[in-house]
């Protein structure tokens, strides 16, 4: 009993694996033979849990391929939409692969790679609600995940009178939508499709496209070597079709064409 207890404490102690200020993160990753990548598990089909409750999806495949191309071990760190960036900034992971859309505000805080993902965000709401344009959101309860692009878009573009309700992670927002606690939300179309498919009884449907979005891989600022490596990696796998194949495998359609920064 005592031994077991000590083991537990040691596990906790090992978690405090202080990494001192680094000169170059790419070297660090290669040296420690491990890359820490933050992913979400609550945005199917990009990221979710399989029947054995292991993280799977487009983002997870991307993370795995990055690790194998680096020739290092992969450690996935599960984050929520709201804490993706703080988790990265506070040094808990090397990068974030979690449908992170590039914005000027974000680019001021973290480094963003060229897009590795593109999708359209659609407003999702029950069929019974007539929602055709942004103006129809007036007086509706629209749920968003705090700090996500969804939050940004709805907050900036929805008409006055829209009741915006902010949740801490996408799973809470989705739960709220399915419980009827909110009238509408917005995610990538294939995410909406997934929610609709799993919950036929909720009578939800895609309403209208809110915007076209891209996804970037997020790094900490000031890591030029790692950024160059990631952009090279995206370029190579755009060319060889791996990204598109993987996208098709999870989302069921080809990856739209991706511009480079």
């Amino acid at each position: 009993m005592r031994l077991k207890f000590l083991t537990m404490l040691m596990v906790a102690a090992c978690a405090l694996n202080a990494t001192a200020a680094r000169a170059d993160e790419l070297d660090d990753i290669l040296k420690r033979k491990k890359v820490l990548i933050a992913v979400q598990t609550d945005l199917p089909p990009y990221d979710t849990l399989d029947a054995n409750n292991q993280p799977v999806g487009y983002d997870i495949d991307v993370a795995k391929r990055i690790a194998s191309d680096l020739g290092v071990e992969l450690e996935l760190v599960i984050v929520s939409g709201a804490n993706r960036i703080p988790t990265l900034v506070s040094g808990k992971v090397d990068m974030v692969v979690a449908t992170l859309s590039p914005t000027p505000q974000r680019a001021a805080v973290i480094g963003l790679s060229s897009p590795y993902l593109a999708y359209s965000q659609y407003v999702i709401a029950p069929s019974a609600k007539s929602v055709k344009t942004l103006d129809d959101l007036k007086d509706l309860r629209v749920g968003v995940t705090r700090g996500t692009l969804q939050d940004d878009q709805i907050t900036r573009r929805a008409p006055k009178g829209t009741q915006i309700m902010r949740f801490e992670d996408d799973s809470s927002t989705a739960q709220a939508l399915l419980s009827g606690q909110i009238d509408a939300s917005a995610w990538g179309k294939s995410i909406n499709d997934e929610i609709i498919k799993k919950n036929p009884s909720s009578n939800l449907e895609n309403k209208f496209a809110l915007n076209s979005l891209y996804g970037s891989i997020g790094l900490r600022r000031g890591e030029p070597d790692l950024m160059r490596w990631i952009n090279t990696w995206i370029f190579v796998h755009k060319q060889d079709g791996w990204l598109s194949d993987t996208h098709k495998k999870w989302v069921g359609e080809d990856l739209p064409s991706l511009p480079a920064f």
Binding site: P86, V89, G91, R146, F167, A176, Q181
Partner: protein, 227 residues
């Protein structure tokens, strides 16, 4: 990576933070008021109600005491709609908070009632007072006086516990902090400010409870001494 603390962007949103603190405060006050009343009523039923009633109250208290508030909150907000009970976030939050504090308050007040010596009731009966009046003056009021410190420290915990309802989109202090954090990415600074505000609320409410206790019970003692 060197990090410089920058409070400017956080303090620029001080108005919103104070609004959030106001919501936290009124939610806490409502919870404490309703939760205490619920606790007192259930404690009376628990000590002198019918057997079935006692059993139900025991079950309620055990559920509150042995499951986390977060799970109770999620169950009420996300779970209850599946059986047709749909509450607004603020309603679900208050229900969960009162449900939780009520359970603890029941237990605290019950312990207070049971600590009153039965001889007190007999003494009252011998004076020819009615049963309920005796119960009120000889049992309930002294019991409340006795458990007042425990009840007030539980209430302060309830006030702090309101932070958890940010998880179901109620816009109180923590939620405002989370929103500012997601806009400024100044997580550490935001939570330092939030923490200071909560500390202020906690100390202020402790002070308030102390003053209320002084006013309510010292006056009673003086009257009692005169009678």
């Amino acid at each position: 990576m060197s990090y410089q603390l920058q409070f400017g962007s956080v303090l620029a949103n001080l108005d919103e933070l104070l609004d959030g603190a106001a919501t936290t405060l009124w939610m806490g006050a409502a919870t404490i008021l309703l939760g205490s009343v619920l606790g007192i009523v259930l404690a009376i039923l628990r000590t002198s109600g019918p057997a079935l009633c006692r059993r139900l109250i025991d079950g309620y208290v055990e559920i509150v005491r042995n499951t986390p508030f977060l799970v109770q909150l999620f169950f009420i907000f996300f779970g209850l709609p599946s059986i047709g009970i749909r509450l607004l976030p603020i309603e679900a939050a208050l229900l969960a908070l009162v449900f939780n504090l009520g359970g603890y308050a029941t237990e605290i007040v019950r312990a207070g009632i049971e600590s009153i010596h039965p001889g007190q009731i007999e003494a009252g009966l011998s004076l020819g007072l009615s049963r309920w009046r005796i119960y009120r003056h000889v049992v309930i009021v002294p019991a409340l006086e006795r458990v007042y410190p425990a009840l007030s420290s539980q209430s302060v915990l309830a006030l702090l516990g309101t932070s958890v309802v940010s998880q179901i989109s109620v816009v109180e202090l923590t939620a405002v902090g989370n929103t500012i954090q997601s806009a400024t990415y100044r997580a550490f600074e935001v939570y330092i400010v939030i923490t200071v505000l909560y500390l202020g609320l906690a100390f202020a409410s402790r002070g308030a409870f102390w003053l209320i206790g002084l006013a309510a019970f010292s006056r009673r003692r003086r009257l009692g001494a005169r009678a």
